[in-house]
């Protein structure tokens, strides 16, 4: 059995993608447990911070998704960590300060429009953590997008934000029972209070991921944003 600290639950389309940290002696690295028949989970009844025991095949996935391991049996929870306790472990796992360090390859700008991508044959991994000098979320034509500044000063714009908790927070903020002008209120929150809450948080940290190859390209996305949103924040706007 392999113990994984669940650090990421992402949502893109109907399926969830789950990533955890595995400790091997002094080394901590990321593992993406996947069901045997698909790349994502249609149902995942656990939380971030849960420590789960998995039965995983030892074979890594195809490049750049080398963190993939097929989960062969049902998994069970053994314990859990708080949000603030997760981040120190993430800081000891895959970490980068610059664009070229993120996935061990060149990152390309989409010449047609927005977004950044890596070539599947060049990328050495599909998940990496980093600190940010600044970060913003915005709703662009109903899509949640993130822009951020790496410690190197390099800027990444228009990354899809696929963090399950943050997407839930946005959905909850836009729920019809929250009254009028929900979108402008959310935008104001993202432009003001949000920024202060995120950037001043001592365990502010992000993880970036690569999508599965799509038309031959792996696109960058914001997998996880710490701190996670709090329900009480909805009362503030």
């Amino acid at each position: 059995m392999t113990k994984l600290l669940i650090t990421e639950i992402t949502r893109m389309g109907p399926a969830f993608c789950v990533i955890g940290l595995q400790r091997e002696n002094d080394r901590i690295h990321s593992i993406r447990p996947v069901p045997s028949s698909a790349n994502g989970w249609m149902h995942f009844p656990h939380q971030r911070g849960d420590i789960l025991e998995f039965s995983l095949t030892p074979f890594p996935g195809a490049k750049p998704h080398i963190e993939d391991r097929v989960s062969t049996r049902a998994f069970q929870k053994s314990s859990a960590l708080t949000e603030a306790e997760i981040v120190p472990y993430l800081r000891r796992a895959e970490l980068a300060r610059s664009l070229s360090e993120l996935f061990g390859c060149k990152i390309h700008e989409n010449k047609k429009g927005s977004g950044l991508y890596a070539m599947p044959s060049e990328a050495q991994r599909s998940i990496c953590g980093c600190e940010t000098q600044n970060l913003r979320l915005e709703i662009c034509a109903n899509e949640l997008r993130a822009s951020l500044v790496l410690p190197s000063g390099e800027v990444l714009r228009d990354l899809p934000a696929v963090d399950h908790d943050w997407r839930n927070f946005v959905d909850a903020a836009l729920a019809p029972d929250r009254g009028a002008n929900r979108l402008p209120r959310l935008e104001r929150f993202l432009n003001s209070n949000f920024h202060y809450k995120i950037m001043s948080c001592p365990h502010h940290f992000i993880r970036l991921g690569l999508t599965r190859p799509y038309n031959g390209l792996c696109w960058l996305m914001l997998d996880t944003l710490f701190p996670l949103p709090q329900k009480e924040w909805l009362e503030e706007f």
């Binding site: 927005s114 977004g115 034509a141 500044v149 714009r157 228009d158 899809p160 935008e187 432009n191 999508t211």
Partner: protein, 434 residues
């Protein structure tokens, strides 16, 4: 069936061609153009990544900066994109009409200052400590110049971090999102690196990619130069929201051993930031309206202060303190008199003077010369030292902060005046947007 929100094709041919060209770039040159009402995401024609990418391409090609937010709560269709472009064009035309009206009535461009901030270096040193560091007798800066303390940048602080902090605070004060910025105009007399300060701020603040970034010079006059450029951009309809930022870190350039204490000891570190918006776009009655600016250069004083780099990395400083002090007082008094005449606002009714402050003694002297209370000059140099281009900014922010506590209708005009090596000079005024 035609949707009435989508204008007939004959009126929007160029917009339609642009949208279709961007769509084909995203979906492939062989892709057929879907009907206006087809939801591109629901129909599986584009995925969410390609949809946003397509919109950004339309924004870049059309020059419309906020298409994405205009399409929130709308379907992902070409018709909605065209309608949003049409709306945006109508709005721009309204703004341009307002600009034209201003030109005809020959009133100054209507830019409103809606948010401000000032951030000094976080290491506050008693001036005696700086005296000692420069090998001067303890108490010299206090007794000769009136400087009680100096704000120096702490480790980890620099022009960028100070300006970014000031900018974030100004944005918050103006209830303005960074994405609303059309231009960042930065000025600094100590930041000589590339990328320039405005470019670094652009990245640090995560403003839109198509927000412009411009650096203006002028040393201590830099803020006024930046404000007048911002006013022009807003007045001409080229911009609706602009961030003006100043940042100066002298303590790493004017160091003991490199320059004399009588010069280097006067300077502190700090930053300031201001949000300017087009009056046509500013529904609120808050803030201050920018009046006119006047500028010039009194070249006869050019030799009073000159700073140049040496080959060995040192600095050559030519500093005739006596001559510069006399010139500074005379010229700033002249500038304030011109501002008074042009604005028709008597200096006695001014709420505060945001001027350059070479040192506190000269500020007292200037107040006396102008016949106004020294209390109308915020004590920036006394507490933080001469902050270069940020002195005027810190003073202006302090006056605006005090004014914001006054009830509307009781707020008073503000006069600006500053100088830079050359001897450059400039002045202007602001009036409450009541």
């Amino acid at each position: 069936m035609n949707d009435s929100r989508f204008p007939p094709a004959s009126k929007t041919d160029s917009r339609r061609s642009l949208v279709e060209a961007c769509f084909r770039r995203e979906a492939g040159s062989a892709a057929s153009i879907p009907a206006d009402s087809v939801d591109l995401l629901e129909a599986g024609i584009l995925d969410s990544m390609a949809w946003v990418s397509f919109l950004r391409a339309v924004e870049t090609a059309s020059g419309v900066s906020d298409l994405g937010s205009g399409l929130n709560e709308r379907s992902a269709s070409l018709g909605e994109v065209l309608a949003a472009l049409q709306n945006s064009a109508s709005e721009m035309s309204r703004t341009n009409d307002a600009g034209l009206h201003q030109k005809i009535s020959s009133s100054p461009a209507q830019a409103v200052l809606t948010g401000s901030s000032a951030v000094p270096g976080s290491r506050l040193l008693p001036s005696e400590e700086v005296d000692r560091a420069f090998g001067m007798p303890a108490g010299k800066l206090r007794s000769r110049a009136g400087i009680e303390s100096l704000a120096h940048a702490a480790e980890g602080e620099n022009e960028l971090t100070l300006a970014a902090r000031a900018a974030e605070e100004a944005l918050r004060a103006a209830s303005c999102g960074a994405q609303e910025m059309d231009w960042i105009i930065a000025t600094s007399e100590t930041h000589h690196d590339y990328p320039s300060l405005s470019a670094q701020l652009h990245s640090r603040l995560l403003v839109r990619e198509n927000c412009g970034a411009l650096d203006v010079g002028g040393a201590c006059l830099g803020l006024l130069n930046a404000l007048t450029v911002a006013q022009s951009l807003i007045g001409s309809g080229q911009a609706r929201t602009i961030l003006v930022a100043t940042a100066d870190v002298h303590s790493r350039t004017l160091t003991p051993g490199r320059v004399a204490g009588e010069f280097g000891g006067l300077f502190g570190d700090g930053a300031s930031a201001f949000i300017l918006r087009s009056a046509a776009r500013n529904d609120s009655r808050e803030g201050y309206r920018l009046g006119e600016f006047l500028f010039g250069c009194a070249g006869q004083y050019a030799a009073a202060i000159q700073v140049s780099d040496e080959r060995n990395g040192g600095l050559t400083v030519q500093f005739d303190g006596e001559a510069l002090s006399r010139a500074a007082i005379t010229r700033m008094e002249k500038v304030l008199t011109s501002v008074e005449m042009r604005s028709g606002i008597p200096r006695s009714s001014v709420g505060g003077f945001a001027t350059h402050q070479p040192n506190p003694r000269l500020v007292t002297l200037l107040a006396k010369q102008c016949g106004v209370s020294p209390d109308t000059f915020p004590p920036v140099a006394q507490v933080s030292g001469n902050l270069g281009s940020s002195t005027c900014g810190a003073a202006l922010h302090e006056i605006l902060r005090s004014a914001s506590k006054q009830p509307r209708g009781h707020r008073r005009p503000i006069f600006l005046a500053s100088l830079g090596p050359g001897l450059l000079f400039g002045g202007g005024w602001l009036t409450p947007n009541d």
